[in-house]
Every structure is written in C-alpha cells, then in structure tokens.
C-alpha cells in the first residue's frame, strides 16, 4: 500500500524518460491560476517569515536600532540559551540514535513472531497522539511520589528488594537512655554486655501510624543461660507520666524487624533481628561487645528518583520522546526490511552464518540508507522539540530542561526579546539547511526526466 502513494517520494522514478509535457498545451495563465493560491500562501507564510527573521535578528529589542551581531552574541552568553544549546546537543545526539536503534531491533525481531503486527501497532500508536497528551501521560509516569508515578513505584520496588528497607525513621533515644548516638545515624549502647545478661534498647519518636504492621506488645527480656537476650521497643505510652522510663510497659510496642549488631573492637561479631514483640537474642559470642542499632534502621524510606528534578529532567523527557518516535523508526525500517533480497540472507544462513552475523554483516549494511534517512529525519524533528519539554518539565526545573525551541518561545512571547528570538530562529534554520540542500539535490535528479 505504501508504495502506491509514496512511490515518488521513497524510491527513484522509473528510469525510462517520459515526457510530461502538457497534454493540453496549457496557457500560462491557466498554470498561474493553478499555482497562485499555493505560491501566495507559501510566500506570505513561509518565505516572508524567513526573510523577516533574518532581518529582525539584526535589530535590537524595540526593532528600531540596528544591533549588528549582538543578538547572535547572546546565543553564547545568555544563560538560558546556553543551557538550551547544551540540552539540544544531548537531544540531537541521543534521541534520534536511540530511537533508530530501537526501531531497528523491533523491526528485525517482529519478523520472527506471529503477532509482530500487533506489537508494531502498540509501539507505533504514540505517533498518532499529540505531544501534549504524551506529555501528560509522562508527567504522571514520572511523578515523584511512588504512590502515583509508575516509574518510581517500580524503581522503589526494585530498590527495596535489594536494599534493606528501613522501618523506623526519626526513632531516637529518650531521656536517660542506655543508648547514645554512634555517628552516621546509628545508636550504640553506652556500656558492654556480658553473657547471660538481659538488655533493653528503648527508643522513642516513631509516629504510631508508622510503626511496622506486625508490631506486637513488647515483652521484657528474660535471661536464658549464656545467651544475651534483649528487647528493643518504643518506650512511650501515651498520656503524661503513664509509662516508666526505660522499662517495658504494658501498652508499648516492640520494634518488629529492628536490626541489632554486636560490635567488638569496631567489628561486627554477631547480628540479630528483633521479633514482632521487639525481642532479640544473641549468643555468648557477643560477650563484651557493645550493641549497635545500625543507621539503616533509621533512614527515611527510599522515595525513588527525582525524575523531573534538575539533573534527570532532560534524560527523562528524551525517554518520553523515544517512546513516541521509536515506532516511526520501526515502521520505516520494517518497510526497508520488507524490500530486502531474502535470498541473500538465506544464502548467508546456509553458509553457516548465525543470526547475529547475518544481522551485523548483511541486514544493517543493506539498511544503511534507510537508517540514515530515519536518523536525519528524527534529528530535524528533535531540533524543533517544544511541547514535550513545555508540558513535562515542572516550573521548578524547566530552566534545566530548556531547549532552543522553548527558549525561542520564551524570548519571543514572554520576555519581549524578538531580536534574540529571531536570532535563535535563524540559528535553527541554519541547522536544517544541509538537509534542505540534500532533499533538493536528491529530487533534482528525479525531476529532470
């Protein structure tokens, strides 16, 4: 189907020269009438603005005084524009290449499964929606709160699987406590323990709703032979003067899951984890050690990455762009793949090449022209990226996510600096001129027949 409509655009016309002289012997006035609407609109809306922007870029803010190259100079001195330039480089380098690479991988792999078409549809679908909608979609994905944004929900889930989660943020020793801060957020007993002792490790300060779900009433430790038994618990009973300091009172909950380390000469000799009632038990090995509650017990719960914060915002938005445009690369590359001589691939396989070698030595080189077209197209597209940055970057980090197209909008329409904005426009235009020239050259050969 594609070849029906896009024939002239995607492949060179048939070699046989054929005349396209008018069959009617058109009068020029008729030709002019056919062309007039298009040429007038193009002239007024596309060509004239180019000229206007070039001229305007040499005038100052008000447009009255000639400013020479001042506006262009600010491309390199203005902080906003410099950030934008830097980010545009990131965009142009990473977005098109990653999208094209993914498109290539998807196009090749979907050929090997029966539901390849369904997969392509899913990946291509974002092309049909607006950048605004995609922006809203990803604003939610990247939400900082792991209870809202799926990116952080997954990230925190993975993190907590591999790292011990902490359950007691803000817990700390109360008055006359046997514990003292050990630096780095850990707490350690003031004295050492000996075999057969019982130990109490009371802390305060955990909000009732933040106590572990399984926590039960704390039980005072009982001696048990050589073992060192202890209890760690929330030494606080609501109400004035109800609980007794440093003693396990009836309504007080154990610190279920608190990690306890026995430290001798700076080395951890044994560890234990408190049960639901806050009790823990160490062997006689720990004789003479001080007991430490390591800092990992007291860290704030891990909240994931600040995707839209200053340092990650640009990569995050580039990610959303790739989500939108990898499908475009995939479809174009799949079309190129469909036109590839299958015999060549089969011949290589018969000769004993494995799939990777076929891909690397035959598929990719044969697809090189398509890959180049896709990458260049995406590069032009990326230069103009505006909506995604405008929507996804929150106000607080929009300066860090700045790109040229956004800066042009700001300078031109909110900072009233049309001169500088015009200079940015001309700069963008200069960047696409090589592609313009390439298009025209490619077509010139086709047109002359």
């Amino acid at each position: 189907m594609a070849s029906d409509t896009a024939a002239g655009a995607t492949r060179p016309a048939p070699a046989a020269p054929k005349s396209r002289k008018s069959v009617t012997g058109t009068r020029r006035t008729v030709a002019a009438l056919f062309l007039l609407p298009a040429l007038v609109l193009l002239g007024a809306l596309v060509v004239y603005p180019i000229g206007y922007s070039v001229v305007r870029s040499f005038y100052d803010q008000s447009g009255d005084g000639f400013a020479g190259f001042d506006n262009y100079q600010s491309l390199f001195t203005d902080d906003g524009i410099r950030t934008a330039l830097k980010n545009n480089v990131l965009w142009v380098v990473f977005a098109p290449t990653v999208a094209t690479a993914l498109g290539l991988v998807f196009a090749v792999l979907t050929e090997r499964v029966r539901w390849g078409t369904a997969f392509k549809l899913v990946v291509f679908m974002p092309m049909a929606i607006s950048m605004l909608a995609a922006g809203i979609i990803f604003r939610l994905v990247y939400d900082q709160d792991p209870d809202k944004g799926v990116a952080n929900a997954v990230w925190v889930g993975v993190h907590d699987t591999f790292a011990q989660s902490s359950a007691f943020p803000k817990a700390h020793p109360g008055r006359e406590s046997p514990l003292e801060p050990a630096g780095g957020g850990a707490f350690v007993t003031k004295g050492t323990v000996s075999a057969g002792d019982t130990v109490t490790l009371p802390l305060v300060g955990v909000a009732p709703d933040l106590m572990p779900d399984g926590a039960k009433r704390a039980v005072a430790p009982k001696p048990d032979g050589d073992r060192i038994n202890g209890t760690t618990w929330q030494d606080f009973t609501r109400g004035k003067g109800v609980g007794t300091l440093n003693q396990v009172d009836a309504a007080e909950l154990g610190y279920a899951g608190m990690r306890v380390e026995a430290v001798k000469d700076g080395e951890v000799v044994e560890t234990a984890t408190a049960g639901d009632d806050g009790s823990f038990s160490l062997s006689a090995e720990a004789d003479g050690a001080r007991l430490r509650l390591p800092a990992s017990n007291f860290q704030e719960p891990y909240n994931g990455l600040d995707w839209l914060g200053p340092s990650l915002v640009t990569p995050a938005i580039i990610g959303s762009y790739i989500w939108m445009w990898a499908g475009f690369a995939m479809v174009l590359i799949a079309a190129g793949l469909a036109g590839m001589p299958r015999e060549l691939l089969e011949a290589a396989r018969v000769d004993g090449a494995n799939e990777w070698q076929v891909f690397r030595r035959i598929t990719v080189p044969l697809l090189a022209p398509v890959l180049a077209v896709v990458t260049v197209t995406l590069m032009i597209n990326v230069l103009k990226v505006f909506d995604l940055v405008f929507i996804i970057a929150p106000g607080s980090s929009q300066d860090d996510a700045n790109v040229l197209a956004l800066e042009l909008y700001r300078k031109g329409f909110s900072e009233d600096q049309p001169g500088v904005a015009s200079a940015i426009a001309v700069f963008l235009l200069l960047l696409v001129i090589p592609v313009m020239w390439f298009n025209v050259r490619r077509l010139r050969r086709e047109v002359r027949r």
């Binding site: 069959v23 008729v30 056919f34 809306l45 090997r112 909608a133 015009s422 696409v432």
Partner: protein, 296 residues
C-alpha cells in the same frame, strides 16, 4: 502496517538437535523481550487511562494500579464533569473548526499546485518545484514572530482564520511534494485520451486526475489532519481564549499538575479519541503518509 511473514528459518530436516534447541530458546527469548517492550509501551497510556477513571480522592491516596485489586473505584465521573465544562467542549469544537478547514484547504490547494507542477508547462517549472521542496524542513518556529506581527496587522491574530492559515502555509510544501510526485506517475495516455475527448484543463483535473489521486489524498489528508489536530505550539501563539483548541485549553491546566489530574487525564483522553480512531481506521494511509513525509 503490512504484516511481514515470519522470517524464522524453517526448522529443516538435517539440523542438529542442538541448533534446533538453541533456536527454540532464542525464539522464546525474542518473545519474552517483545512482550516486555510491548508492556513498556502500553503501561504509560493505560496508566493515564485508569487514572482518568478514578476519583481525585482515590488518585491522591494511591497509584492507578490499585484498580486491579479494587475495580469498584472505576467511574466516569471525571468525564461527565469535564463534558459539562463549556471551556472544554468549546475548545474541542475549536479543534474541529481549525483542523477540518486546514486539512481540506491543504488538499485542494496542494492538488492544484501539484498538478500544475506535474503536467503544465511554464518557465522554470522544476525550479519552482524544487524551491517548494526546499521549504519542507523549515521549522515552524522561524515563522512564529513574523507571522504574529503580520496577523496583528491583518487583524486575524487570535482568530480561527489565523491558525488555519498558518497550518495551511506550513502544510503546503509537503502536500505539493507528495501530490506532484503522485500525479507525475499517472500514465500520459490516460490524460491524452481524456484530452482527445475534448476535456479542458480544469475538467481534466477534476474528472481524471483527482479521482485517480485517492490514495495520495488519503495519505496526505490523514497526515495533515493528525498534524493539525495534535498541534499545540501554533495554537498557543495564534489563538485567544475564545478560539483555543483543546490542546491549549489543557496546557493551561498543566501548571498545577498534581491538583487537577482529574481534569488533565480525562481531557487528554478526550483529545486523543479522534486521532486514535483515525489512526486505527486508516493505519495504512497514515503509514504511507508518514513514510512519504520522512523529510518533514
């Protein structure tokens, strides 16, 4: 999207058990990989869809994935509220008022010019065409400031007319390029036959050329339709509160993202319905439009 035949090598006779086994394993890996990637691509959209079907209170409490365990949370409440909001329905209508004329005009004007470039004779014909092709990659940003000023002088700044004109202007290079190339492929004999029957230039164009151009016009029309429907930047500058399309209306809400997800999520979906229907109904035409437009 053309279904490509499964290209996996047939597990032919004479292959060793080992190679068949490794093929089976790698085939499994490919499937798993594609399923994971497919989920990756679906989850963001599904997430917003489910978010749009929950109450703001539920959204504030926990993530959209909660609905998998508590399906009773699903409600169309946010959509109902939104569709009673005159700003939103008005801006949806504006989107239609902008998109339809901008698409029709581009097709009509582009066809006229494309036909002239393909089949009429006038001095410098090919140079004019190449000049139009050169305009394909001009970024819209270049025109924002000059056109804002021009529209101000003409008194169309902030009106639907202005936005439509802008979209027509920037849609034309691609339209002329695509249609001229399509028209150029029409067999000369067809045109000559019609000419011998006494058809004039206009009649030839309307009765012979245009009916043949269906596929190209469909591809162009769908491409331009989606382009304009989805535009935010141009409308952001050239419309005012009375003429703004849905994209701009929603954009103004994004600043307080956390607080009005109940407007943004359903709003985004309402704005997506038409493009998605068009996309699924006309996939093939859309793809060929995209392919031909690989330079835009």
């Amino acid at each position: 999207m053309s279904a490509t035949k499964a290209g996996a090598a047939p597990a032919g006779a004479g292959r060793s058990l080992g190679s068949r086994l490794s093929e089976w394993v790698s085939g499994g890996l490919v499937r798993v990989f594609l399923i994971v990637v497919g989920l990756f691509w679906l989850v963001p959209t599904v997430g917003l869809l489910l978010a749009s079907l929950r109450t703001p209170q539920d959204m504030a409490a926990d993530g959209w994935w909660t609905v998998f365990t508590e399906p009773s949370q699903l409600t169309f409440g946010a959509y109902e509220t939104l569709l009673e909001n005159d700003d939103i329905t008005g801006s949806l209508l504006n989107t239609v008022y902008i998109t339809v004329p901008a698409t029709v005009l581009v097709v009509v004007i582009g066809s006229l010019a494309g036909y002239a470039f393909a089949w009429m004779e006038f001095p410098g014909r090919d140079w004019w065409f190449l000049a139009v092709v050169g305009l394909l990659v001009v970024p819209v940003q270049v025109a924002l400031i000059p056109i804002a000023e021009l529209f101000g002088k003409l008194g169309v700044f902030g009106s639907l007319t202005g936005v439509v004109l802008f979209h027509v202007g920037f849609g034309l290079p691609f339209a002329v390029f695509l249609l001229r190339n399509f028209f150029a492929e029409i067999p000369r004999e067809l045109l000559e036959a019609a000419r011998l029957d006494g058809a004039g230039e206009l009649r030839l164009f309307v009765r012979v050329v245009m009916p043949l151009a269906g596929p190209a016009i469909a591809a162009l029309g769908i491409f331009q339709f989606l382009w304009v429907w989805n535009d935010m930047l141009v409308a952001l500058i050239f419309t005012d509160s009375g003429s703004q399309p849905i994209t701009v209306a929603l954009q103004t809400q994004v600043r307080q993202f956390g607080n009005n997800i109940d407007v943004l999520a359903p709003g985004a979906f309402i704005s997506m319905v038409v493009p998605l229907v068009v996309f699924f109904a006309f996939q093939r035409q859309f793809v060929s439009g995209v392919m031909a437009g690989a330079v835009k």
